[in-house]
């Protein structure tokens, strides 16, 4: 279902945009405004990060956003409600992104159930490789939600195939080593990696980590299906306020 939406959409656009926010950061109200401007500016899907105290795969910017949200009393419960609200209100697919312990404590089946109820299409869980995810996969399948898995430049072809066999909706390809928020060198080095990704799966490919401006998007167009803007919008909101998000997104494509 998510895959189908994306493939349809790709008939109209050469590349799709996925954006990212940390829920409750700077606040739920501002978050709502940000989602609104992003949707208006033509974003194709969004990942909503539920803050976790140990966001091991995130760089300093998102890490601090996680902490700040938690310090402000953001709970998983409120995050899921918020996700439900925006999913109801806005016409694009939403995903949750968070670490495994959040799902685990909530109860995997219960979590997938709430996602279904709130029309959250899928989940990205960066510290859960498919090997460790049997229960998660069953729950997601049971509630017809998409488990989005991750490829990395260090993943060999065989393993990519194995991972893809468990994924659904699309594959999230991280552009490079390291955590979110650092610069990526968008150069021909990426080609062979992305070729390998393509070879491994027919699922749409999203590329994230370090995508920050129109140049990057132009570079990626034709090579991947979805460009992921993560840290960059958080930086923007921190520097220039919520109002700057819309124009920024509009200018990307």
């Amino acid at each position: 279902m998510l895959e189908k939406y994306l493939k349809n959409r790709l008939k109209e656009k050469k590349i799709l945009l996925m954006t990212h926010i940390v829920l409750g950061y700077p606040s739920f109200e501002e978050g709502f405004q940000i989602v609104e401007s992003m949707v208006e500016a033509g974003v194709d899907l969004m990942e909503l990060q539920i803050p976790f105290s140990e966001p091991i795969a995130d760089g300093p910017v998102i890490l601090r956003a996680n902490q700040s949200a938690l310090a402000n009393g953001v709970t998983v419960k409120k995050c899921l409600e918020f996700a439900g609200d925006v999913a109801k209100k806005f016409p694009i697919p939403f995903l949750v992104m968070t670490y495994y312990n959040i799902l685990f404590q909530y109860g995997l089946d219960r979590f997938a159930g709430v996602m279904a109820k709130n029309d959250i299409k899928g989940a990205i869980v960066p510290d859960l490789p498919p090997e460790e995810g049997k229960e998660y996969l069953d729950a997601m399948a049971g509630h017809d939600r998409c488990p989005i898995f991750i490829f990395s430049p260090t993943t060999p072809l065989e393993r990519m195939k194995y991972i893809a066999s468990h994924g659904n909706g699309f594959i999230y390809c991280v552009a490079r080593k390291g955590v979110t928020g650092a610069d990526t060198d968008f150069s021909s080095d990426l080609h062979s990696y992305l070729a390998r990704c393509r070879q491994a799966t027919n699922l749409p490919l999203a590329l994230g980590f370090g995508v920050k401006d129109k140049n990057d998007i132009d570079f990626l167009t034709g090579q991947v299906d979805i460009a992921v803007i993560g840290t960059q919008t958080i930086r923007l909101v921190e520097k220039e306020g919520v109002g700057s998000v819309g124009p920024f997104i509009s200018g990307l494509r």
Partner: protein, 409 residues
């Protein structure tokens, strides 16, 4: 689906995909080493020429008399080079780093013990070295930072999160996902994703191997009970592993009871209601966390026990009942430290003193025929700033004030 490194449901390897290949390599090299008959021999040689293994067991004659019960023996990991059992683990991993042809090591550290040990190993092996340490700990544990820097390590204060040990671990992982080609992450305890719990336990098992042999040679029999403190679990697993298959030997792991289990200010994951099974920092175990899965703040007088998680192998041994877990409070620990110093002339680290405190609590209930073995995982004289504060020594405070005046001038 391949599940690796599980101990009855605890453990695993909850890794960001970027690290999977690195862990595959690490596991491969570790298993090769483990199966190479020369490797353990080399490791023992290194530990016996660079540190002073085998470390002795010391008969605590005065304490035995004082409690009137069992004979009390102390396994002297405090005599290791750099002052704690941490040396066993880092030197072992150092040998693996060489096998992997990597040139840089990173590590997290809380109290600084593991940081100093890693920096020492790096100096010895000629590796570059970066140590991540929570900013709060950098401030508290300046002496260890001083030595790490002298040893050539770069110490990076972690300003994120609660700025203590767990945040340093996260930061080390963030470094690793960027630099895994050249870099090995020397995890300091038997936690983290597979193969770390198994690997760290393997290196620390030298403690238990020696202790078992020493007890048989000197006493002709095994101890009745063995006590070890439990931070991440490496010293406990190290000594316990020599006796796991001796069902008559009771194994007791002692966690940080802090200000009391009912105050919330403690670091007890295996005997408090505040902990639950979860997944963080790459593995599944008991964590001190709230009902939504966010990690809690922890407290212990001993920085080395002040950690939210615990070895999955210990969680497993708790469930099977093979190891009994207890908690000792800060106050009990200070009293046990004072008594041990006074009676035996050995200075346990505050971490190790947890094991002493619990042993003392139980000693008088055992008989003359019993033998107790306590693992003194480290020496306390490194932590004079903490210990002097724990004892609230006014002359020490005056000394520091005078010293500060001189630096001001």
């Amino acid at each position: 689906m391949l599940n690796r490194g599980y101990y009855d449901g605890f453990g695993g390897a909850y890794l960001p995909e970027i690290l999977v290949a690195t862990f595959d390599e690490l596991e491969k090299v570790f298993l090769e080493a483990k199966n190479d008959p020369d490797f353990w021999q080399n490791y023992e040689n290194l530990m016996s020429t660079y540190s002073c293994r085998p470390t002795p067991i010391t008969f605590a004659e005065n304490l035995s008399r004082y409690f009137g019960g069992p004979r009390i023996y102390i396994k002297r990991e405090d005599l290791n080079h750099t002052g704690a059992h941490k040396a066993n683990n880092v030197m072992g991993q150092g040998l693996l780093v060489k096998r992997m042809n990597k040139t840089r090591v990173i590590a997290e550290t809380g109290a600084g013990q593991h940081g100093v040990a890693t920096a020492t190993m790096a100096a010895k092996f000629g590796f570059d070295c970066t140590i991540y340490m929570g900013e709060v700990d950098v401030e508290r544990q300046r002496p260890n930072v001083f030595w790490m820097e002298r040893l050539g390590a770069e110490v990076i204060p972690v300003k994120e999160g609660t700025r203590i040990l767990k945040d340093a671990i996260n930061e080390a992982f963030r470094d690793w996902v960027t630099h895994m080609d050249t870099t090995h992450y020397v995890l300091g305890t038997a936690c983290g994703p597979h193969p770390f719990p198994e690997m760290v336990t393997y290196f620390q098992s030298i403690i238990g191997k020696e202790a078992r042999k020493q007890m048989m040679e000197s006493q002709g029999r095994l101890p009745t009970r063995i006590y070890a403190c439990v931070g991440g679990g490496s010293n406990a697993l190290g000594i316990f592993s020599g006796f796991l298959h001796d069902p008559a030997v009771e194994l007791v792991g002692v966690e940080a009871g802090g200000k009391g289990l009912d105050t919330g200010e403690h670091a007890s994951r295996l005997c408090s209601e505040d902990a639950a099974v979860g997944v963080a920092q790459g593995y599944k175990t008991y964590f001190l966390q709230n009902h939504e899965g966010q990690m809690k703040e922890t407290h212990s007088i001993a920085a080395g026990l002040d950690y939210v998680g615990v070895s999955p192998i210990l969680s497993h041994l708790k469930e099977t009942g093979r190891v009994r877990f207890e908690a000792a409070t800060d106050d009990e620990v200070v009293a046990a430290t004072a008594l041990t110093i006074r009676k035996e002339g050995v200075i346990p680290a505050l971490e190790s003193a947890h094991a002493f405190a619990q042993a003392f609590r139980e000693a008088s209930k055992l008989s003359h025929d019993d033998i107790i073995l306590i693992n003194q995982s480290g020496r306390g004289d490194k932590d004079i700033f903490t210990v002097a504060d724990a004892f609230n020594d006014p002359k020490w405070q005056q000394f520091i004030i005078e010293k500060a005046k001189k630096y001001h001038a």
